[in-house]
């Protein structure tokens, strides 16, 4: 493997790491928003 090929692999790897963690970021945002909404509704129901 040449250095330029290694650099390409490196860029690819970093992009994948960022890509996977970015997907995870959005999933966490969506899930936690959903869970918090669910919990606040449940709390409201319990109160009433």
């Amino acid at each position: 493997m040449t250095v330029s090929e290694a650099a390409l692999v490196g860029v690819f790897c970093m992009s994948l790491v960022f890509g996977i963690l970015a997907v995870l970021y959005f999933l966490i945002r969506i899930f936690t928003a959903g869970i918090r909404k669910f919990e606040s509704r449940r709390a409201e129901k319990n109160r009433s």
Binding site: A6, C13, L21, L24, R36
Partner: protein, 381 residues
Amino acid sequence: MFIEAIQKLIQGSGFAALTCQSVVMIVLSLVLIYFAIVKKFEPLLLLPIAFGMLLINLPIPAGEIGLMDGPANGQAGGLLYYLYQGVKLGIYPSLIFLGIGTMTDFGPLIARPSSLFLGAGAQFGIVIAFIVAVALGFTPQEAASIGIIGGADGPTAIYLTSKLAPDLLPSIAIAAYSYMALIPLIQPPIMRALTTKKEREIKMTQLREVSKLEKVCFPIMVTILCILLLPSVAPLIGMLMLGNLFKESGVTERLSSTAQNALINIVTIFLGVTVGATATAQQFLSPATLKIIFLGLMAFCFSTIGGLLLGKLMCFLSGGKINPLIGSAGVSAVPMAARVAQVEGQKANPGNYLLMHAMGPNVAGVIGSAVAAGILLSLFR
């Protein structure tokens, strides 16, 4: 007659088989034992590694079964040969991840998911070390194993190296754990060089409280996503998240307690001794080891730089609400890297409490380095 008997005794002992190289390795193992006991450099792992090194470099006369020798001529293999199968098959690192999972609180990461980007940025050193290692003549498999030192995650480094470049395992394991122990010395100068005093003084607002339901759902969600996207990472992420589920579910206290105490301690002993036992003179005393030590340090430095630069970017994008110091904690090494961020933050502003904020990128770094290892494994296996 008497002299003959003495001669026979000496020839049958290990003294006759001692070589200069094995003496050097024995001295080196004693130095490591000193660092572990006196200097307390990651003693839980360095001590068994150093002792394994000592055991394997004490020569055994011809005809005797060595500790790392496999079964031959109907005779059973050495003790460490069998224990080493746990490393070779990637069992021990995964079990250690199970224990780490039971000890990790992902709350700060769930409260501020953008920490994931800091954990990703702090994998920068892996790539730089990989490229330089290829330039220095290592094969892509070896370069990937060396690069992963930058992830600052011992079990991940051992897991990847055992799969891609088992010959380099002792040098990489020792370099990874030594640098992890040296984080309080390596990171602060880089942190001060890359941030202004004003940035280091930034006080961050308190993180929101994370509910139990969020904490229970998190490991399940990460497992499904990561393993679907990257099946090669299943042993590490799967075990990490299983351990965390034990902890957060609150219904498996006994399992959680076993995984974070007895199990992790037993596996650490087996892992340490057997990794140390792979450090024979022929494998360890080579120019490659020196290169690995240099590349490992470089990987650590660049990972810190990557995390800090991402931290600076997030500081800018958030309008100065995020202290860039927490970016340096993206290099796994839980919780030492987060503690270093806390100490540096407090030096700049005594009223600054960054520990919980730094724990987010810190645990994100564990996920990030496991993901990076999975990618490298998929590419080069």
